[in-house]
């Protein structure tokens, strides 16, 4: 079972790819898989009929009690046969239906994926997995209905289908959760074994039934189904006739053994079913498009199924399931016939159809047989089901539940008459009377699938005994009612047969009176109108709310967010009493001095107008914070902070060359007092919150164990570094990804559309003077021999330091971040000494290669232990005694750190190359901004490509 689901799922993925080779015949792959699987499932029939249950189970999320648990009982078997058997024939049909290659390749993957998820839905015993299948079918339905996404009405139909069924699906999920809270299990079988009797469980059942009704297009959700006919005809045959819309019926049938005795169950289902049945039938009578006629017919038939199953007795369960099978078979066949008619005449309009029986006798035969099954005319399977349904309703009426029984009986009988009428409208209107449109093409192969299905429907009519046996385990599961009578074509001259005959007669009369109508249907379903009005109101509400709240001003948005931060958590903090006066004033005198300097520098930085001055003050803050880190006992932090501060200072100055000297904003404005007040409020709140957080700590810090773990699992002595590369490696992985993205972003903002190294071509050094560096400036005005010489000497030393920091990082302060930053500074020095050319001499390729290579190293070093049977992120130590170096220990997380090191170097290279050499290039090409003297503005670059 699981194998079938997986094969179909895999086929769904590969089929689209294969379609470029196989063309439309790619459909034969899922067809073969489905039919083979149908044969296998068919062979399980006897065992299932004997009440055996096939089970396959894979644990998925044991902690949440969720498992992929497939159980094949009688009900599941029936649905699986529908999905695979009818589905397999539809796949065959598709191979000859689709002519355009693009449509075929788009459809095949979606349709196969649908088959897999539908199968998962019906086989799953775990309600969460069932829900997964359920929502997957919704999504596939949405994609298939919107296949022709260029048409607005198709997109809208797809959206309606999606929204309606998803609302139902989410309601159902709520019900499942509620049920789990009552029963303690997600297993359907366990729930049915011990049905919960509480009020909450009743609510859960009601919520799940709402989901079922929405999926099966029962009033008040019925309007999405006719719209879904925008999908190609084979899709409608599969999803919106045979399989997907049966999911709700399936759920009702599956739940009724447990919940049928709820007071609203029978009344609710029977009355909603009857309303749907009659509404669908009446609307079907008015359609001109035969496909939409059948769609309304499907709504009507789904209503019939809910009515019959809603009666909730042994007999009604048997009748309902027989009707379900019959409907899947005949409705799929009818849709496929519509596809044949559409293909050969080019129209589905009843006004342009007629008399096709003589031109297409085989298709007409299949249509007539199937329509007979739909109308409940012997000896078709549909007749068997409808007889049983009428009989079940009557037994109910006699067996105590008088009102419901009679209501159901009358409803089914009237529905049957109307069904006869619209069946006649379809058959007579299409195949009899005067020939209107001459069929252009003949499609012999296309009719095979509908003919086969029509024959199955006919044979089914004579297999009442077999069907009764197959369904028995599910029928017996319902607690109410006497034993179901065996299905048979001839029961004698029973009241059910009499009412059937009356229905035929009435149906024929209705057809005579109204069947000839050829007026275009007008007026809209009030429920559908309500839905559209609701959607429009929602949209208007969204516009109003957005228009009122989104002012589009960044400062306003930030102010709102920060005000909320201060107001709600702030007040909560003050009221909670978490804040006490238990504080230590300071740790050391140096800390106090540094903190004071940092604070003063920050305050002055806010008021200064000079751009460079402000950022110099920020540097004071940055280095001060580094000192505070050091005083607190974080040498790694201090190292990295000091290095980043240096790097930033370099790239900042590189950019400031081209920017005006002063900030734009005049500091003296009224709003600044408001901003200052908000800033003080937020700062105060943050400081108090951090105090309160530590004061109210009750648990032991998680990092207490790090001391031991660092050495035992991480094989390193520098706990902070081990935390980065081992204990919290995922965190670091995400972080270096951010660095990578930011570096790429910087490069693309400067070099807009060209690769970075490509934009800066290497030119052969044509300098006449002897230089210390190969890529040194050619112009003597730019060159600084002292700097060149220093660079020549310093670069190797700095790179050695960088590698040293990387190597010792696991046991002493250092690591990939610090090492990479030192290398970045070394590269910046190369740039300062010799410009972009010298940087190219240092690294003659794109920074992207370093970034990408580093990322690959990081990811591989996290996942490689899996290959040797370890866990993701596990680290190992390899100890060896080497000559000269003595006992050495290599920890595998070093590779992670090397990846980090590469990424940081790559990012630094991107920063220096973009903001340094890139801006140089802009200046040469006159596209850099030109700062104005004593102004806060620049002239934009001339002719900048946007």
């Amino acid at each position: 079972m699981l194998l079938t689901v997986s094969i179909l799922a895999v086929l769904g993925v590969v089929a689209s790819a294969l379609s470029s080779r196989l063309g439309r015949f790619v459909f034969l792959l899922p067809a073969a898989a489905s039919i083979a699987a149908a044969v296998w499932f068919g062979m399980q029939g006897p065992a299932v009929a004997a009440g055996e249950i096939l089970q396959e189970r894979i644990e998925w999320m044991p902690a949440l009690d969720i498992a992929i648990d497939l159980r094949l009982g009688a009900l599941q078997w029936l649905l699986a046969m529908v999905v695979l058997g009818v589905g397999g024939l539809i796949f065959v049909y598709c191979a000859w239906y689709f002519e355009s290659h693009t449509l075929a390749s788009r459809t095949v993957g979606l349709l196969t994926g649908f088959a897999a998820s539908m199968l998962l839905l019906v086989l799953s015993d775990d309600l969460i997995v069932l829900m997964v299948g359920w929502e997957l079918t919704t999504i596939f339905s949405y994609l298939l209905v919107g296949l022709n996404h260029r048409s607005a009405s198709n997109r809208r139909a797809a959206q309606t289908a999606l929204i309606v069924t998803t609302i139902g699906g989410l309601t159902m999920l709520t019900g499942i959760m509620l049920l789990k809270a009552e029963t303690g299990t997600f297993s359907l079988a366990a729930t049915l074994a011990e049905p919960p009797q509480t009020t909450a469980a009743a609510w859960a059942a009601a919520l799940m039934v709402v989901g079922a009704l929405s999926k099966s297009a029962i009033v008040p959700f019925q309007y999405w189904l006719p719209g879904a006919m925008a999908a190609p005809t084979p899709v409608s045959a599969f999803l919106h006739a045979a399989a997907m819309v049966k999911a709700g019926i399936f759920l009702i049938a599956a739940l009724s053994p447990a919940f049928v005795e709820l007071p609203w169950w029978r009344w609710g289902l029977v009355s909603l079913g009857i309303v749907t049945m009659l509404l669908g039938a009446v609307r079907a009578m008015r359609q001109l498009d035969i496909k939409v006629l059948l769609a309304h017919g499907t709504v009507s038939q789904l209503g019939l199924l809910v009515t019959v199953l809603g009666i909730g007795t042994h007999a009604s369960m048997q009748a309902g399931l027989t009707l379900l099978a019959a409907h899947a078979v005949f409705k799929a066949a009818l849709f496929m016939v519509v596809g044949v008619v559409d293909k050969s005449t080019g129209t589905r309009d009843l006004r342009e159809l007629g008399g096709l029986a003589r031109r297409m006798p085989v298709a007409a035969g299949a249509a007539i047989l199937s329509a007979a099954s739909m109308a409940g005319i012997p000896p078709a399977l549909g007749f068997l089901g409808k007889e049983a349904a009428l009989d079940a309703a009557l037994r109910d009426a006699e067996g105590g539940m008088l009102a419901i029984g009679w209501l159901a009986f009358l409803g089914i009988a009237v529905g049957a008459a109307l069904t006869v009428a619209y069946s006649l409208r379809f058959v007579v209107g299409t195949f009899f009377g005067a020939l209107v449109t001459e069929p252009k093409r003949r499609s012999r192969i296309l009719v095979i699938a509908p003919v086969l299905l029509a024959l199955i429907g006919l044979v089914g009519g004579f297999s009442g005994e077999l069907i009764s046996q197959l369904l028995e385990p599910q029928v017996e599961a319902v607690p109410a009612g006497e034993d179901a009578p065996q299905l048979a074509l001839w029961h004698g001259f029973t009241p059910a047969l009499v009412s059937s005959m009356i229905a035929w007669l009435l149906g024929a009369l209705v057809h005579r009176s109204f069947g000839g109508r050829r007026r275009a249907p007008h007026g809209q379903d009030p429920l559908e109108r309500g839905y559209h009005a609701g959607m429009r109101a929602l949209d208007r509400l969204a516009v109003e709310v957005t228009g009122r709240t989104q002012t589009g001003s960044l400062p306003m948005h930030l102010t709102t967010i920060l005000l909320v931060v201060v107001a709600f958590p702030g007040i909560a903090l003050l009221l909670s009493g978490a804040l006490t006066s238990d504080v230590r004033l300071y740790d050391s005198a140096g800390q106090v001095a540094t903190a004071v300097i940092v604070s003063i520098a920050a305050i002055i930085a806010t008021t200064t107008r000079g751009r460079l001055k402000a950022f110099m003050l920020l540097s004071v803050v940055g280095y001060g914070v580094a000192l505070l880190f050091l005083l607190h006992g974080g040498p790694d932090l201090a190292l990295v902070q000091a290095l980043t501060e240096t790097v930033f200072l370099v790239i900042l100055v590189l950019v400031l060359r081209r920017l005006p000297k002063y900030f734009t904003d005049r500091p003296l404005r009224a709003a600044r007092y408001i901003r200052a007040a908000l800033g003080i409020a937020v700062g105060t709140f943050a400081a108090l919150a951090s105090l309160a957080a530590l004061q109210s700590r009750t648990a032991e810090p998680i990092s207490d164990g790090f001391y031991r773990w660092a050495y035992e699992f991480g094989h390193g002595a520098n706990i902070v570094n081990v935390t980065l590369v081992d204990i919290r490696a995922w965190d670091t992985l995400g972080e270096v990804a951010v660095v990578l993205a930011a570096a790429t972003g910087v490069a693309s903002l400067i070099f807009v559309r060209r690769p970075t190294a490509g934009a800066l071509r290497r030119s052969p050094s044509a300098t006449g003077r002897r230089t210390w560096l190969r890529g040194a400036f050619t112009s003597e005005q730019l060159a600084s021999p002292v700097l060149e010489m220093m660079t020549r000497l310093l670069f190797p030393v700095m790179m050695t330091v960088s590698i040293y920091l990387l190597a010792v990082g696991h046991n002493a302060p250092g690591g990939g971040f610090a090492g990479g930053l030192v290398a970045g500074i070394a590269l910046a020095v190369r740039y300062l000494a010799g410009g972009g050319q010298e940087l190219l001499e240092a690294v003659p390729f794109d920074a992207g290669k370093l970034l990408g290579g580093g990322m690959a190293v990081v990811v591989l070093s996290v996942i490689w232990p899996v290959l040797i049977g370890g866990r993701i992120g596990e680290s190992y130590a390899i100890e060896a005694t080497l000559p000269l170096l003595g006992d050495q220990k290599l920890v595998t997380t070093l590779f992670f750190d090397i990846g980090v090191w590469l990424i940081v170097i790559g990012a630094m290279l991107d920063f220096v190359r973009s903001l340094g050499a890139g801006i140089d290039l802009h200046s040469e090409q006159n596209v850099a901004p030109r700062p104005q003297w004593r102004s806060d503005r620049s002239l934009p670059g001339e002719g900048v490509r946007r």
Binding site: R150, S151, V543, G547, Q591, F615, L678, Y707, A743
Partner: protein, 162 residues
Amino acid sequence: MTPTLILAIAGGVLIAAGVYLLLERSLMRILAGVMLAGNGVNLLFLVSAGPAGDAALVGADPETIADPLPQAMVLTAIVITLATSAFLLAMSYRSFQLEGHDEVADDVEDAIVRRRAEADLSSEAYVDISDSDSESGGRDDSESGGRFERETGSRAEDEEAR
């Protein structure tokens, strides 16, 4: 545990100064605000690390070392702040290159939505076909090549609103 007051005060001052700058419109000052606030938050991390101690190296007394976990978090935060700052810096430069200044203008799309709200219109993305006859259902005429229908209606409405 007992927090260190002076660190919390310094962190609070840095955050206050950072927020003050963040509320400006000039990208460069926003950048300065991000850097200040980032440093402030990092200091508050130190507060939550408890008292100052020795470097967190195995071999030191486990009772006197500083808490290593906040340090690891701050270390990642420092590097991310550097990356973000470089990005903001490049954005500011690009803005000068294109416009001659780096002020963040009000969002144009928001203004459009506001005008639509004032004119009592639905959103641009909303296509109203509920008036048309939807009973006929769609046709899968993508087989016949398909037409490209573009909804010009809501655009026209929007023009009207302006």
